[in-house]
């Protein structure tokens, strides 16, 4: 079973089209193993991306070095999934 310990979902806020293009480039870059939950649309709409734990540091540095604002939407995905699983089991009982 694949688990997601330490994966975070980052919410990225592009300030302009250039930043939007930079985020878009990330989607084509398979090296970071990113999973776009909510893709790039326009500057008014944030982009949500699941980032594996081992790439968090590089992605955050990349965003910060390009002055792209972001917040942590989900701090530890696996913790949420564990909670979801426990809730399913207890509701079933």
């Amino acid at each position: 079973k694949e688990t997601f310990e330490g994966h975070q979902v980052l919410r990225m806020y592009a300030k302009n089209e250039d930043q939007l293009a930079l985020i878009n480039d990330l989607e084509d870059n398979h090296e970071f193993e990113l999973d776009f939950w909510r893709g790039v649309t326009d500057v008014r709409t944030p982009v949500d991306v699941r980032v594996p734990h081992h790439n968090l540091r590089s992605i955050k540095i990349h965003l910060e070095s390009n002055a792209i604002d972001y917040s942590i939407m989900i701090g530890d995905l696996q913790a949420m999934l564990d909670e979801e699983r426990m809730e399913m089991v207890s509701a079933a009982r």
């Binding site: 790039v40 649309t41 989900i74 009982r93």
Partner: protein, 312 residues
């Protein structure tokens, strides 16, 4: 774990594995044989049945409404909403005048688990799975994005040609049995008047096109219907939706289901992106399932009612 004994005791406020949804469908049919039947329109890659619930009060090949939920397996709130819709239709027929009028003239077809292999996989092996489960020859990456696999601008921008991408379009249009089965069924039926696909998340109601900037010929009517639908949706909890064509509202996406259905002549083709509480993404808490389904039903009714009142 005791199985629910009937559709009334089914817990609509939690997420269910696929076997429980299959059992639910059979219970609903058994309890409402004059209204609901189950049609198996095909099999998934791994051999699971592609079940469609047909809600019909009689007649032959009546004008019909198609609703599918969960083509992207990890979007669990859509399958859960689909289950709630099925029960809602049964409960409201004969009670709600608008739905009763629709069902006295039209049939409703509802595919709750549109990507059963992916849904099973998302419960057992990888909660974040989105695609089908068919292997891709020459690649270690599995599956195709079934909402890039339709024959509508297939292979264009807004889909990936890489099997490892989440938006991999597949080797050719309709390569996925989950898609081809719907295509064959809708074509052979020949009398669908509305085609509605439900996704999560980001609160949008979208109409064609996704693969081209060219507005569809019914753009004005679809825009105004979408506005009415999202207004009705917001009437319950104030949930605000954006609406418009796919390409203008989100991004270019080729090979999508409602572009295909629209090009087949099904004018009322819409796709939803359901509720986004802003913090959970695909892991929407279970206490959000019924509010999501309930508010979405308002919009669905707006579209179905408009379809009923505007025959073409």
């Amino acid at each position: 774990v005791p199985e629910p004994k009937n559709a009334d005791s089914y817990d609509y406020a939690r997420y269910h594995p696929i076997n429980e949804i299959y059992s639910f469908q059979d219970m609903l049919v058994a309890e409402n044989p004059k209204l609901v039947s189950k049609i198996v329109i095909g099999k998934s890659y791994e051999g699971r049945p592609l079940n469609v619930l047909k809600f019909s009060t009689g007649g032959t090949n009546r004008p019909a409404i198609w609703i599918d939920t969960g083509i992207h397996s990890r979007e669990w709130v859509t399958q859960a909403s689909g289950t709630w819709f099925a029960k809602k239709i049964v409960d409201d027929y004969g009670r709600d005048p608008a739905l009763t009028a629709i069902l006295n003239k039209m049939d409703i077809y509802l595919e709750i688990v549109t990507n059963p292999d992916g849904y099973y996989f998302s419960h057992t092996s990888n909660r974040m799975w989105r695609k089908t489960r068919k292997p891709n020859p020459g690649s270690s990456c599995i599956g195709v994005d079934p909402n890039r696999n339709w024959d509508a601008g297939f292979g264009g921008a807004g889909a990936s040609g890489s099997p490892c991408a989440e938006t991999y379009r597949g080797p050719k249009a309709n390569s996925e049995s989950e898609v081809k089965s719907i295509v064959d069924f809708v074509k052979s039926h020949g009398n669908f008047k509305a085609f509605i696909s439900l996704h999560a998340y980001s609160q949008m109601l979208l109409y064609p096109y996704g693969y081209t900037k060219t507005p569809c010929k019914d753009d004005t009517e679809l825009h105004s219907l979408a506005k009415k639908a999202v207004t009705d949706l917001a009437s319950l909890y104030g949930t605000r939706y954006r609406f418009g064509s796919i390409i203008n509202t989100i991004y270019q996406a080729s090979g999508g289901s409602i572009d295909w259905s629209y090009n087949q002549g099904i004018k009322y083709s819409f796709t939803f992106e359901l509720r986004d509480t802003g913090r959970y993404g695909f892991i929407l808490p279970t206490n959000q399932i019924i509010p999501t389904a309930t508010e979405t039903w308002q919009a669905l009714m707006a579209i179905m009612n408009h379809t009923y009142k505007n025959p073409y």
